[in-house]
């Protein structure tokens, strides 16, 4: 069976049924990768979600094409990662060219023992198509196409929306509004908010071409190549023999002229050769900005993805950071909606994701400054770095064609419990829990796949199991109303002993997790629902775990000690 042509899919507008509720606990504006990921996350936490989208198509054109390991891990949690990876192209090698020669190449190939690669390339329409089908199959999610939000009235107790449709406007209210409505975010404007930052004076041409060619599946980046002098060019592969080519055009280029095939094709032939038979799939000229809103939360309204922050495309930090936004927000909103955590927990979405946005903006601004030098001196340094990179290691580290998206570590977060025991600094508290192969009931599987959607207490045991009393407490943890799972990760030698206790466990068969979690004699980690590390200790201490859990949910009340 061939793939569905998601670009031409017309999504059906349906009149709102007469018996539809006029209030939803959660409404999401925007059915893009971020909005639909948020819908899936909230729905899988058991909440009814309404998604409003002003259009009736999925992504036209490939747009975002690079999806990072962290995004894939999040989509695995939402049970949609495998489909993305199966269709996508996994890649690891990048090559940098200056003028007519290669000056450097790098390999992103991560250490082995991770379920997902560093990156896959996949057209945004496939990504959205798969998310859309997953949402359609979820009884907790309703998507209304051609439903345009035209008015937002925030109040203390709820948010009221006016929504325009082909059948006229209607009014609807929600407890929580999540604006995932893109860089121009109409919801942001309706609230009188703005994003602040830097707009870059440069234009880029994106050309997606279909061709039968055996270029390797690598990322090729040229600075000042003979076929496109004084500018940069990026070549990247996508599924279905589609190649993404980005040409830097400079600020003076005329966008209307540059998208014409008679302008685009000669540029492509200059790169690929005159005789290559190319078919234009999608052409677009874009400019970009690095900016963000001052606050991603306004009462009961949250902003995520491009609506909250924008970056230049170098580094694939747009869609990837948007998916990390919702990964951060969904579990917090779920706990607050269930009354299991105070409203203050939602403020930590701003704290953590605004810091992440700053990190992404910093990295993509630096890349942009390297790719588009703004003065003669800056150009001189850039070209000198490139020339030295052929020979010298230090210069290679300075070459910046995009610092590719990695998970942000929330090392400064108020939800973290600082280390009191000695642990490696390589994996700090606030970092993302690393993956690794484990065996469960005799089958090999992945550690991250075990974590689910609740807090996890992971007890790593190397030489001996925790004391019987601790094990007893772990088996029946009392963490008030917070859902917490305890999983033991044991060395193969301990498997016989642990099986008898009846506690949930996996076996770290190759001792890979023991290394990645700096287990030494033993370690106990508290892992958040978004797989970030909240706290860790050398020993299992139920009182400390409870305190860390309260802290990780912004519940800062003192708990009575139950030390005897």
């Amino acid at each position: 069976m061939g793939d569905i042509d998601y670009q031409s899919l017309q999504l059906e507008y349906r009149p709102v049924p007469a018996d539809a509720p006029d209030h939803y606990p959660v409404i999401i504006v925007g059915a893009g990768p971020v909005g639909m990921s948020m819908a899936l996350d909230m729905a899988q936490h058991g909440h009814k979600v309404l998604v409003l989208d002003d259009d009736h198509t999925l992504s036209i054109g490939s747009r975002a094409i690079c999806f990072a390991k962290r995004t894939l891990d999040i989509w695995d949690r939402l049970d949609i990662g495998e489909r993305m990876v199966r269709k996508g192209i996994s890649w690891n090698v990048g090559r940098i060219f200056f003028r007519d020669e290669e000056v450097w190449n790098f390999n992103l190939l991560p250490e082995s023992g991770h379920r997902r690669p560093a990156f896959i390339n996949l057209q945004q329409y496939y990504c959205e198509g798969y998310l859309y089908e997953k949402c359609e199959a979820d009884p907790n999610i309703e998507i209304r196409w051609r439903n345009r939000v035209v008015e937002v009235q925030p109040a203390n107790s709820q948010v009221t929306l006016t929504v325009d449709t082909p059948d006229g406007p209607y009014s609807i209210s929600t407890d929580w509004l999540i604006a995932c409505d893109g860089a121009r975010s109409p919801v942001r404007k309706m609230l009188g908010q703005e994003a602040h930052g830097q707009i870059f004076r440069d234009r880029f041409l994106i050309a997606d071409v279909k061709l039968e060619a055996d270029f390797p599946e690598e990322r090729w980046f040229w600075f000042d190549p003979p076929f496109h002098p004084n500018q940069s060019v990026l070549l990247h592969s996508q599924p279905d023999n589609v190649w993404r080519i980005d040409f830097q055009l400079g600020w003076d280029a005329d966008p209307a002229e540059e998208v014409k095939p008679e302008k685009v094709l000669p540029r492509i032939k200059a790169l690929l050769g005159k005789d290559v038979d190319v078919q234009l799939e999608w052409v677009s000229v874009y400019t970009f900005a690095c900016e963000r809103m001052d606050s991603f939360r306004h009462g009961r309204v949250f902003f995520a993805g491009d609506a909250a922050h924008r970056v230049s495309p170098f580094g694939a930090r747009g869609a990837n950071s948007g998916v990390q936004d919702i990964d951060n927000l969904a579990w917090k909103l779920d706990l607050v909606m269930r009354g299991r955590a105070p409203d203050a927990l939602l403020d930590t979405y701003c704290e953590e994701r605004q810091a992440a946005a700053d990190e992404n903006i910093l990295n993509s601004t630096r890349s942009t400054d390297f790719i588009t030098p703004k003065s003669e001196t800056s150009l001189l340094f850039r070209n000198t770095v490139l020339r030295l990179a052929k020979q010298h290691d230090f210069a290679r580290r300075l070459v910046n064609s995009g610092r590719l998206s990695e998970a942000t570590f929330y090392t400064e977060s108020s939800l973290n419990t600082p280390d009191v025991d000695e642990f490696t600094a390589t994996l700090p508290v606030g970092g993302v829990a690393p993956d690794g192969p484990v065996s469960r009931d005799g089958h090999t599987t992945w550690w991250l796949s075990q974590l689910g959607k609740n807090f996890v207490i992971a007890v790593f045991c190397k030489d001996s199991l925790p004391a019987a009393a601790s094990l007893q407490q772990m088996a029946n943890p009392d963490f008030q109303s917070l859902p917490v799972r305890c999983i033991l990760v044991v060395s193969p030698e301990l498997e016989g002993d642990i099986a008898a206790t009846g506690i949930e466990y996996v076996v770290d068969q190759d001792s890979i997790l023991a290394g990645r979690y700096d287990v030494r004699g033993g370690a106990c980690y508290l892992i958040r629902p978004d797989q970030h590390i909240a706290a860790r200790w050398r020993n299992v201490d139920i009182v400390r775990i409870r305190q860390a859990l309260l802290r990780a949910t912004s519940t800062h009340q003192e708990v009575p000690s139950c030390h005897n």
Binding site: F381, L388, Q391, H392, F394, A395, L398
Partner: protein, 68 residues
């Protein structure tokens, strides 16, 4: 003889580069050239070791000659 270190010696290479470029902000090309000369003199004095400086001068000169 001390060897010129051409392995990366920066904790955060991108941060060095950003500071270098922003130090030149708003300068004319002539002013930037003069600033670069001052920078070379300051850093050379800090290094002090003429063996190391000679190797750096040689590498730098070679990179320009290759360009010609």
């Amino acid at each position: 003889m001390s060897q010129l270190n051409t392995q990366c010696n920066f904790n955060v290479p991108d941060e060095f580069y950003e500071r270098l470029i922003s130090a030149h902000r708003d300068l004319s090309t002539n002013e930037s050239n003069a600033m670069n000369a001052a920078l070379v003199l300051l850093l050379s004095n800090h290094i002090g070791d003429l063996d190391v400086i000679s190797q750096a001068l040689e590498e730098a000169r070679r990179s320009v000659m290759a360009e010609a």
